[in-house]
């Protein structure tokens, strides 16, 4: 995974969940981030889709269990698009 994808995902998560980017790690998840409820999960999905120009399938959305999983997914979708 490139550092920049992870960074960008982390910055989006920082905006959406309202916490500083440096407090977010690859392992950050709904269990560790209080704000990460189902509505914020949808907001995260939409922000990711908008930012990276991708469309997530319902299965992808299910699989976004932590920040690392989100970044991995974005990379996968981007390389599939190329």
């Amino acid at each position: 995974m490139t550092a920049s994808t992870f960074e960008q995902v982390r910055n989006i998560a920082s905006d959406i969940f309202g916490i500083p980017a440096d407090k977010i790690t690859a392992e950050s998840s709904p269990e560790t981030i209080e704000n990460w409820d189902s509505m914020q999960h949808l907001n995260l999905v939409l922000a990711i889709e908008e930012k990276f120009g991708v469309q997530l399938d319902p299965e992808d959305i299910e699989a976004m269990k932590n920040i690392d999983a989100v970044a991995t997914l974005v990379e996968k979708l981007q390389s599939a698009a190329r």
Binding site: N43, L46, A47, Q55
Partner: protein
């Protein structure tokens, strides 16, 4: 407020103004207590990066800044309720961020899924408890007309027609109930037509096809909306078409999250709502100030000359003609045009008057500043000349440097970011919500001519020895009448827009004015004025209500273009005389000071009122009607109508 970067060029500033640096700056400024500058950087961040993530960042900061900013009255508070049949929650942060960029602090209430009918019918519903300024009724066709949407091929033609009529009757009933329970504005989404009708191309071979019937419903909805004050139609079908149905929709999100709109188009939904919210909240621009070279025409007139500049029916001049058409459309809606250009006056006037490709001419501009002075200074002068606040100005310039300078020096001005490609200029102007209007009065349509007459008046005034001589020369005629259906929209508009000569600055919507007018103890007068130079139209409003022995002035305002011509005295004298005729002994009224209404401060005192009490900066004044000598000035010819025109609206 000083701006640390206002002296640097936009290019050198752009590195420190990238979105992630702006985020850091905003948080630093908030921590330092520099709230005004933080708010400006926040608006800039939103302009540069209007994305979903940014919207979340921005709305969290707005909530932090709110208390501090509200004290300074820089944001207009507005409460919006959204009644819906689909997920709108992700649109809310985008909408609030967008509103913030227009100077509006938007509070949003979202109704439960598909409870819009009971919300509108039940006077005790959460909708009414929220007390919104405006309500959006966002219902999709699948919910509003399920038979037509899903099972159309099963329906006999008669049944389909009946289904369409049932849909319309439903809306009519809910809207009627809404209007009984609330005076808020109501924005009704029209129904979207299917992108693939159930019978394919056959559908369009009949008026009564799936598409045809939904079109018929939309026509009826528009008719219902025009029958009520403050009910407006949002053409959702056209909005989807504008962006392309296949791009707009996201079937996966619809099936999993009840969100029908794709991530990339949520902002467009928010912006469409803003086109209603901006005029409803009064944060509109009244004047558009345009640059000339490479904005109104292609090229530089001082270098390229008449033969070299590009404006005409063919490319590339056509792009500039398209922009000029957009400007003329604004002018027809009552938005004044003005020029602010760094040029030699003679060169610029030659092109404005004589270039064959030009659609706008010098006569379309209410003010011209063609010189080599700083643009911010010119804008201040234009505002002064046209008697509007700086915040009533919008600024159109192709040069990012000039735009940044104006933003830094005059943050109240609406600065339009022109795209690089001139072919997109016209759309940038047409899409700007600051130019939206929800009603048009006769005054709006003639405003440019009125300002031309105003220039002649100002010229005449200087040739007279005394004010009285000038007033007699003006030959003013004033028409006083109770508010009627014909004047309701304009009266409400004046309460919304008048800032300077306004004693109480109370803002009213059309339905609120209509309701007041129906009460016996309330009296709403309007005044129309014309003089030897032209017609000012309806320029003043007075609202008063009787309470025992006294009559209290609730609202007293006058459009700035007639201030100081003694029309205000005529209106006040009428208020006093009519109150005396109804047997009142005293006329009382508050002066509630704002940042802008200093011109009205001494009004009561100058007309023989005595100060009764003060509450902070506010003061209460009273006039003894039994001994008052207040009369309308003899040089104004008065026509007084006492009966209101009977109403036809709900």
């Amino acid at each position: 407020m000083s701006d640390s970067t206002s002296n640097s060029t936009p290019d050198s500033a752009s590195a420190e103004r990238n979105p992630s640096n702006l985020r850091a700056q905003v948080d630093r400024l908030i921590a330092e207590g520099a709230f005004d500058l933080a708010a400006r950087r926040l608006a800039e961040l939103w302009r540069r990066d209007p994305a979903s993530g940014t919207a979340s960042f921005v709305t969290l900061r707005i909530d932090e800044l709110r208390e501090k900013l509200r004290d300074r009255l820089t944001l207009t508070k507005f409460k919006l309720a959204i009644l819906r049949s689909f997920t709108v929650e992700p649109i809310v942060p985008l909408l609030r961020a967008e509103a913030f960029a227009y100077g509006i602090d938007l509070e949003v209430h979202v109704g439960d899924f598909n409870t819009y009918v009971q919300d509108m019918l039940d006077a005790q519903s959460p909708l009414y408890r929220f007390a919104p300024n405006a309500v959006v009724l966002a219902v999709r066709t699948d919910q509003a007309a399920p038979e037509l949407w899903r099972d159309f091929a099963d329906l006999a033609p008669e049944a389909a027609q009946q289904a369409a009529e049932r849909v319309v009757r439903g809306y009519e009933q809910w809207i009627g109930a809404f209007r009984k329970h609330s005076q808020a504005a109501l924005i009704v989404h029209s129904l979207e037509r299917p992108s693939s009708p159930s019978l394919g191309v056959l559908d369009d071979q009949s008026e009564a096809g799936q598409s045809g019937l939904i079109r018929q419903i939309n026509r009826d909805l528009r008719r219902i909306a025009t029958g009520f004050h403050g009910v407006y139609s949002l053409d959702y079908d056209a909005l989807v078409a504008r962006h392309g149905s296949e791009h707009w929709h996201d079937e996966r999100k619809w099936l999993t999250a009840r969100l029908p709109i794709a991530a990339g188009y949520l902002l467009q939904m928010a912006r469409e709502w803003m086109r209603f919210i901006v005029p409803l909240s009064g944060r509109t621009a009244k004047v558009l100030v345009v640059d000339l070279d490479n904005t109104l025409w292609g090229g530089v007139i001082g270098e390229d000359g008449m033969a070299g500049i590009k404006v005409g029916a063919e490319y590339p001049g056509a792009a500039y003609q398209a922009l000029q058409r957009a400007l003329l459309d604004l002018s027809r809606k009552g938005i004044l045009l003005a020029v602010c250009s760094k040029n030699n006056l003679d060169d610029a006037m030659e092109a404005l008057e004589n270039h064959p490709g030009m659609l706008v001419r010098a006569k379309h501009f209410a003010a011209l500043r063609i010189n080599w002075t700083d643009k911010a200074q010119n804008l201040r002068e234009i505002a002064q000349e046209l008697n509007v606040g700086i915040d009533a100005l919008a600024f159109l310039d192709d040069n990012p440097f000039e735009r940044e300078q104006v933003r830094a020096a005059l943050p109240e001005v609406t600065v339009i970011d022109l795209p690089r490609n001139p072919l997109e200029y016209a759309l940038a102007v047409r899409n700007c919500a600051a130019f939206e209007r929800l009603t048009l009065s006769a005054e709006d349509q003639q405003r440019t001519e009125m300002y031309a007459a105003q220039k002649q008046r100002a010229g005449a005034e200087q040739t007279f020895q005394s004010k009285e001589d000038f007033f007699r020369f003006l030959e003013q005629e004033a028409e006083l009448e109770p508010v009627s259906d014909l004047t309701l929209a304009r009266v409400a508009q004046l309460t919304q827009k008048t800032n300077q000569f306004n004693l109480t600055t109370r803002r009213y919507t059309e339905p609120q004015i209509a309701e007041m007018a129906n009460k016996r103890e309330w009296h709403i007068f309007s005044i129309k004025v014309r003089d030897r130079f032209g017609d000012h139209g309806l320029v003043g409003v007075a609202i008063a209500h009787d309470l025992g022995e006294q009559c209290e002035v609730d609202t007293f305002l006058l459009s700035c273009r007639v201030i100081g011509r003694t029309v205000e005295t005529a209106l006040l004298a009428h208020l006093a005389e009519s109150a005396a005729q109804r047997g009142r002994k005293r006329l009382v009224g508050w002066f509630l000071p704002t940042k802008k209404n200093a011109p009205a401060r001494d009004f009561y005192q100058q007309h023989g009122f005595e100060r009764q009490e003060a509450n902070g900066a506010a003061s209460l004044w009273a006039l003894d009607l039994t001994s008052s000598k207040l009369r309308s000035p003899e040089w104004i010819k008065l026509k007084v109508t006492t009966e209101a025109t009977p109403g036809g609206k709900n």
